[in-house]
Amino acid sequence: MANESAYQATKNEFNTNGGQILLYYIDDVLYGIEIQYINEIISVMPITVVPRVPEFIKGVINIRGKVVPVISVRNKINKPEIPYNDRTSIIIVEIEDLTVGLIVDSVREMAEVLPTDTCSAPDYKMVNENQYIKSIIDSGGEIKQLLDIHKLILE
């Protein structure tokens, strides 16, 4: 599929060229997301629950008249839910015409990633938790996990 190959291309491109990522926390682990997907970051707002969908879909929110589904990144990476607080943020991303909100514990800053800092995810034979990790970034004495938002949202 055309989408698939384009997606592979961007995946490899990041590992070879680096780029800007937004850093955010789940618990005290740092994660990253590429800037080109991000529309905006908002603080958490009332969420309308949609029944009978998987647990990671928390519901829908109203962003200037548009109904946007929100996903709990916590749930996706198998961490227990915690109550929202004033640091809780929703990162609104747009990917293949889908607009989706990602709920994270808090966001930190934008960071520039050099290609030399990236290392690609290990090749597990078994499918496990690491399935969302696209790349690990080791810079400034910190480890950041770049999650694959294609997989996070579309699978």
Partner: protein, 731 residues
């Protein structure tokens, strides 16, 4: 667009729209005539008119290839109309027209692409010319004319395109009671040939014969120069009464500087026609019994002098026929005028904008009139004004909606063509039956219905109907298969059913296939029949062993489902082995605005479409009963309804469990009733339906009873319930 001269752009949309609808009309006529296997006089006239219009407008747009093809077809129908040949090869004729129509349609599609090159239609034109030759033979053979005439006709065939020439040859100028008028146009008015054409079109209906010099004004812009230099010579014959009308038409035409009458008609003009007709009628030819004897008879009356009189046989017609023709043309003209006066076509984008705007107005109206600041205030005048405002916005909405409504017949009619082509290719005998094609749906919905319905109809004809008539007869069914396209509206939804009376879906084969393709998600024996049927619409699924031209690649039904879901609808399959298969599409009447009642369940708020609600019941003692399997039943009057507890169905916490404290809503969908228990009624509001994000599609959210969301005046989102699915899932 590079294919058009500058200044033409504004007309392209109009041209494409017009030509497309004309071609659709053509298809319709052809389908009908093919079924009856004969051309009615009106059909021929209609086709003639369609081709004439396409020819003219294509020439105007500079699309010469299309114009020429249309011209050839027009010529062919001219022969059919005037000579009325007995055609044995009707099939070839139908195929010829269908192919040409397809070619023209494809060309129009290409116009929308900037860089496309004009297609070469010469193959098709050659085919048509060949058929014209054949037609000529038919005419002559039928009339029993001398063999020499046949040769002449064949010779004349290539020239048939040029209607005027042979006629001119037959009747030397100035000797035949023609009135000659030379028209001069204003200097620098430009496009003289087209202006001349306008005059010709205007006076055509009053003339029995009409010739012009130069004659090829319609297709040859270079004639403009000729017209500037020498004026435009019109030679016509008409009835004495109409003669003055023609002159005044010429006089009144736009940009005409002056005109001079070079030759008055002899008073004999009209009688002369009659005289010419007389010998024709009396001609005691061997095959005189045939009704189409006119043309050969004229040949007999004017031996040798008339090598090819066919294109202009008017002289041989009786006055009665001429009058009839004039009347017909007048009627046609009058009809067209009527249409123009009361209809306009509007760009869909503008309508979309208008609708969005109205949607916003509805929301802001709710924001103003149910503003939290007003709570507890007693504002009589305000409330009165607010009511008035609501009434007006309601009406505004209704009008905007009705403007956008289009009958489904357009979509349905396109299917006749597809079925017809498939019948020929697959050699199956199938009838396509319509029901309720006048049902109206929002334009935005219609546009998204074409592809899904086409796939379904193809699927029904290809897979649904048994491969051979023998199979059908063996199963005790008529040899001819039937595919039915039915539409009707039911509580705010339009339901379209594509059904066939074929073999039905084979559950075992579906399961096998699903296993092969790894589509099963639970043990095979746990699948219900309905679930199995719906597997047909999974991506990559096809039970057909071979890929045919029409289906079998396993994309079709998946596309159907996606297409329908895109417009907020659902598709379900129902099938009985040996009896046939129904595909049921449910689509919202309009995507835009509905009336709804907000209800609360725990902390959640839902909107129930008002048209689904029959009544609200505050339960009294003894109204809650249990059936033998301990399901709850509500007794209302002497009727019993199943009770659906929304909190249990959707797993909502902290809501009322006591039916006597909550409110019971009696709802109906598709003739099925149920009671839904909610905590509280909040209010009534018109809401703008926002479809769910496509992300939810894979969770079958529609089948779970959720039709979409809406944003309330305070910015919060509620979910609109889909009552039909809720009833379905609970009983």
């Amino acid at each position: 667009m590079s294919r058009f001269e500058s200044g033409m752009e504004s007309m392209i949309d109009m041209y494409i729209y017009e030509t497309t609808s004309l071609l659709e009309q053509l298809d319709e006529i052809m389908m009908r005539t093919e079924t009856n296997n004969e051309f009615g006089e009106e059909d021929i006239n209609e086709i003639f008119r369609i081709m004439h219009t396409i020819k003219g407008s294509s020439a105007m747009m500079g699309l010469e290839n299309m114009s020429v093809l249309a011209h050839r077809i027009e010529d062919m129908f001219f022969i059919i109309r005037e000579e009325n040949p007995v055609i044995d090869e009707k099939k070839t004729l139908f195929q010829l027209i269908f192919d040409s129509s397809d070619l023209l349609k494809a060309e129009i599609d290409m116009l929308q692409d900037d860089d496309s090159e004009p297609t070469d239609f010469s193959d098709q034109i050659t085919k048509i010319e060949k058929f014209v030759e054949y037609l000529k033979k038919c005419v002559n053979g039928e009339g029993g004319a001398a063999p020499a005439a046949e040769g002449e006709a064949a010779e004349a065939a290539p020239e048939a395109a040029d209607e005027a020439k042979p006629a001119e040859a037959a009747q030397p100028e100035g000797s035949s009671g023609f009135c000659k008028v030379r028209v001069y146009f204003e200097d620098n008015c430009e496009m003289e040939n087209l202006r001349a054409l306008i005059i010709v079109n205007k006076i055509k209906e009053y003339c029995t014969e009409l010739k012009t010099v130069p004659d090829n004004i319609e297709n040859d812009p270079s004639t403009a120069k000729d017209i500037i230099d020498n004026g435009f010579l019109i030679m016509f014959k008409s009835h004495v009464d109409d003669y003055k009308v023609v002159l005044s038409e010429i006089e009144g035409a736009v940009n005409v500087k002056s005109y001079e009458i070079e030759e008055e008609p002899s008073e004999l003009a009209a009688p002369a026609t009659e005289k010419a007709a007389e010998p024709a009628a009396e001609a005691p030819k061997p095959a005189a019994a045939a009704p189409t004897v006119e043309a050969p008879a004229v040949e007999a009356s004017k031996p040798a002098a008339a090598p090819a009189p066919k294109p202009q046989p008017t002289a041989s017609q009786t006055n009665e026929q001429i009058n009839k023709k004039i009347a017909q043309q007048k009627n046609a003209g009058g009809h067209a005028n009527k249409g123009k006066q009361s209809l306009i076509s509007v760009n869909l984008n503008k309508l979309d904008q208008l609708q969005d705007m109205v949607g916003e107005i509805v929301i802001s109206e709710a924001m103003v009139t149910s503003n939290p600041d007003l709570k507890g205030l007693k504002l009589d005048n305000f409330q009165k004004a607010a009511r008035e405002l609501r009434k007006l916005t309601d009406e505004l909405q209704d009008i905007v909606m009705s403007v956008r409504m289009v009958p489904l017949s357009g979509v349905f009619n396109k299917m006749t063509r597809i079925v017809r082509d498939m019948k020929v290719k697959l050699n199956k005998d199938v009838d396509l039956v319509f029901e309720g094609e006048e049902t109206e749906v929002d334009k935005s919905v219609i546009d998204n219905l074409n592809d899904p319905i086409m796939h379904m109809v193809r699927n029904s004809v290809d897979h649904g109907i048994e491969a051979t008539a023998e199979e059908r007869i063996a199963a005790g069914k008529p040899a001819k298969g039937t595919v039915t396209l039915a539409a009707y509206s039911s509580s705010g939804e339009v339901i379209i059913v594509v059904s066939d009376d074929g073999g039905g879906i084979d559950c075992q084969r579906v399961l096998e296939k699903a296993r092969e393709n790894g589509l099963l998600t639970k043990p095979e024996e746990e699948y219900t029949e309905k679930e199995i049927f719906n597997m047909v619409m999974l991506p990559g699924f096809s039970t057909n062993k071979e890929v045919t031209e029409y289906s079998g690649r396993g994309v079709g039904m998946d596309v159907v489902r996606q297409g329908i879901e895109k417009i907020g609808g659902t598709v379900s399959v129902d099938s009985k082995a040996g009896e046939g298969t129904n595909f049921i599409i449910k689509i919202p009447l309009s995507l835009a605005i509905i009336d709804g009642i907000e209800v609360s369940v725990g902390k959640s708020i839902f909107t129930i479409p008002t048209n689904a609600i029959k009544k609200f019941i505050k339960l009294k003692k003894n109204q809650l009963l249990h059936d033998t399997s301990h399901k709850e039943i509500i007794k209302d009057g002497n009727k019993l309804y199943p009770l659906i507890r929304l909190n249990q169905y959707y797993g909502i916490q902290d809501s009322l469990d006591n039916v006597y404290e909550g409110v019971v809503v009696l709802v109906e969908s598709d003739g099925r009733y149920a009671c839904i228990l909610v905590d509280e009624l909040i209010g009534e509001q018109q809401v703008v339906v926002k479809p769910f994000s496509p992300m939810f599609n894979r969770y079958n959210i529609k089948q779970q009873g959720m039709a979409g969301c809406t944003i309330l005046g305070d910015g919060s989102i509620t979910i609109i319930l889909e009552i039909g699915s809720i009833i379905e899932n609970n009983g």
